[in-house]
Amino acid sequence: MNERLQDYLVFDQVTKRFGGLTVVEAPFNLVVPRGQFVVFLGPSGCGKTTLMRMVGGLDEATTGTIRLEGSPVGPPDERRGMVFQSYSSFPWLTVLQNIAFGMRYRRDLSPKAKASRARHYLDLVGLSDFGDAYPSRISGGMRQRVAIARTLAAGSDVLLMDEPFGALDAQRREQLQIELRRIQSEEMKTVLFVTHDVEEAIFLADRIIVFSSRPARIIDDIDVTAELGSDRNLELRDSEVFFRRRADILRTVRSTLTLV
């Protein structure tokens, strides 16, 4: 069991082609220990979403395998939760119902437990006053928070988050980053997180994987925790080491291709 902690999620010689388009070229290898917060950073269209979808079971690797806890990942299940790039709350459900939908297919929770969890995550994403509102009545950023809360409420061990904070304003973004980091470390969640925002990457990540442009190749694998520790808070944001790290990473990224 102990070894599974170290190689909890494994990309083993993974490739992916869509018809003639090679998105991921062999060999893509990555070993993610349990409870690690991994951020994917790379130019648009390099294949980050595709990698996440393969972990989630929505796409299949062309060759190679992705293993979770030692066995190849199959179709989607409750162990892997996904927050999609475009916000996808259901228009026929209220905000609270949307969040509760995350637990709809869980048989291990009582209706009461589901209701209180839904409330909890509603509050967490700052939508307490909008529980009864329908998605058509709230802003895009709020809808994205609904989708985030829905996935968190589902309680899966692995979180696959594809540019989840893209539509949020700076302040809300900062708050959710801190919350996400807290939930992740408290509940030992393993997170794959895609972003274009270097600052966000450094603040959140235990480890940053920097990608080349398509076909995706890892051009850097940065151990952020080694330098910043695992405690992330607002003071860190203003610290000197944070700025230095940010400059380093920006240089790496710029040396490959245009980003941002």
Binding site: G57, L58, P75, F90, P91, W92, Y105, S136
Partner: protein, 267 residues
């Protein structure tokens, strides 16, 4: 005044509910008025086209003689029976066709084949199969709507964003749960709109069925009146159908708006 007119005719602009009703009533009244005047001054031969007031009078007499309400209810009953049958079959079949490729591959050619057949061409065979009773009428109506409706349902189901389905899958939903909780809920506004449109077509086939084989219903009333050249009675029957169509359509529109008032303006 010209400012108000200008703003009312803004390209893709909006019009308040009150004004819309006023314009609709005004234009209908205007047409009736022109028609009535044309009759008065002798431009229209009453055998060819009676005046609106004559038709109204005839309609009153026919209603008093008990020729309208009973027959209208019979026609409506036939439509409802056949329409429900079509919908109850088309909705699940269409949803399955949209979800499973082999099912659509198997059914699409048959549906397309029958869809393009003119319904009148199928009257003889349906009389051979079902005689001249209610079954034939229901069958003809079903033929005319089911095959159209099933493709509309497929289209509605196809238009459900794949992302909704994927969200549900990652939350552990199984196929039948996706059909029930996602596809069905998401397609419902579009579906109800299509049901409303299909219901309108039912009247076309109903009249056809009642002309061929019936001794009651509005189609029968119209066809019998025609035989004696009672143009005013023909027009009165037509008028009743138009009114029923108008009322059901508007009611369904209003119901749609109310039912989906929270889901935003899309569809």
């Amino acid at each position: 005044m010209s400012g108000a007119l200008h703003s009312a005719f803004a390209f893709r602009g909006s019009l308040s509910r009150r004004k819309r009703v006023a314009v609709a009533l005004g234009s209908s009244f205007f047409i009736l008025l022109v028609w009535q005047i044309a009759s008065w001054v002798g431009l229209l031969d009453p055998i060819f086209l009676p005046s609106p007031l004559d038709i109204l009078g005839t309609l009153y007499d026919m209603t008093a003689r008990g020729e309208i309400i009973g027959n209208a209810l019979i026609s409506l009953g036939r439509i409802m029976a056949a329409f429900l049958l079509s919908a109850v079959m088309a909705i699940p079949i269409g949803m399955l066709m949209s979800s499973y490729r082999p099912i659509s591959a198997a059914l699409e050619p048959i549906i397309d084949f029958i869809r393009y057949l003119p319904i009148p061409a199928l009257i003889p065979i349906s009389i051979i199969w079902f005689g001249v009773g209610e079954e034939t009428k229901i069958f003809l109506l079903w033929l005319g709507t089911f095959f159209q409706l099933v493709l509309l349902v497929v289209d509605d189901a196809n238009r459900v964003p794949n992302e909704y389905v994927e969200v549900a899958r990652t939350l552990g939903a199984r196929p039948y749960e996706i059909l029930r909780d996602i596809i069905w809920r998401s397609m419902l506004p579009g579906l109800i709109n299509n049901l409303r449109i299909t219901l309108g077509w039912c009247w076309t086939y109903l009249i056809l069925a009642e002309i061929v084989a019936a001794d009651n219903g509005l189609g029968y009333v119209i066809w019998t009146a025609r035989r004696y050249m009672k143009t005013d009675e023909v027009m009165a029957g037509v008028f009743v159908i138009g009114i029923i169509g108008l009322v059901t359509d508007q009611a369904m529109r209003a119901g749609h708006t109310w039912l989906f008032r929270d889901q935003g303006t899309s569809r």
